[in-house]
Symmetry: C2
Subunit: 151 residues, 2 copies
DNA sequence: TTGACGTCTGACACCGGTGTCAGAGTCAAG
DNA sequence: CTTGACTCTGACACCGGTGTCAGACGTCAA
């Protein structure tokens, strides 16, 4: 096997430890692919201990954490933002973190508002185009009908 | 110079022909970079003849065409969609094209509506998170204040 | 022992318009 | 002839979560 990178703070546990999950089991419970779980770990969103054989070993709280990660991803937050606010969303280490997390969420909401406004602007611009083009189409239809009648 | 790919239907004109533009001039007039103009051509949105030396030579209608391309890009349409509806937007070859173009624009508007709805959904999901997290933050603040008073 | 399956790491692809670079050709001005 | 400004083509990078593959190792049952 290729040498395995080790993260700071992870523990190496007995293989087959009770009350813990391997990556396939966690994937099955959460609906996330193993690929995604490894990615979340790489991004610092999800902690995993290691078996003596190098396999990832997840605690029983992992499914809930993965659920939160995926909820937040589904809101359009990227992994940087999620890393910032996950400690508070988990019931984290108190005031400072929650303060920063609230700010992060509010920034993201403001950005979503801006994106919605931008899409609305695009929609209106497109509606103007549609109007012109429908007119042209209908003129062409009228011309075709006239040509048909005179023939 | 590297060998130059030739598109179908382009003409090779005298270098320095009057009433035409080289890529730098067109870029300056339209605000598009030369890189973008070459890309539009590659995507089949913009026609360019060639000088005997291989330089692109644009007709005097090119600035208007580039303007339309950039307007449509700014609405979020991709080059595939623009290729489909540009003939009609230019005052093109009649009924069939305009019919297809109208359909393309309406599809894009429907897709924009769907995207707006999706962003709104994300915003609401995020607002729920924000509510929970603000509560947690305020609880922490209250706890901190109590601890301060009792100390 | 062998085969099937799970897991490991690392790497590439995707989307799509644009920036940027490399290496080379063109051409007018000095 | 030299210099500098343009132009040519082709290629890589960007973003960011996910799919997928390759090559190797672990584990367990037949």
């Amino acid at each position: 096997m290729a040498p395995m990178a080790r993260s700071v703070g992870e523990r190496v546990v007995r293989a087959g430890a009770e009350g813990s999950l391997r990556i396939g089991e966690l994937a099955e419970r959460t609906g996330a692919s193993p690929r995604s779980l490894r990615y979340y770990e790489q991004q610092g969103l999800l902690r995993a201990d290691r078996d003596t054989n190098g396999y990832r070993r997840y605690g029983l709280d992992a499914p809930a954490t993965v659920g939160r990660i995926r909820e937040l991803l589904a809101t359009g937050l990227n992994t940087d933002a999620i890393r910032e606010l996950l400690p508070c969303a988990q019931g984290g280490p108190g005031l400072v973190f929650c303060d920063r997390s609230c700010s992060a969420v509010e920034r993201q909401m403001a950005q979503l508002d801006a994106e919605i406004a931008e899409l609305a602007r695009r929609r209106e611009a497109l509606a103007t185009y549609a109007h012109v083009m429908r007119q042209r189409r209908d003129e062409d239809r009228a011309l075709a009908a006239m040509a048909l009648r005179s023939a």
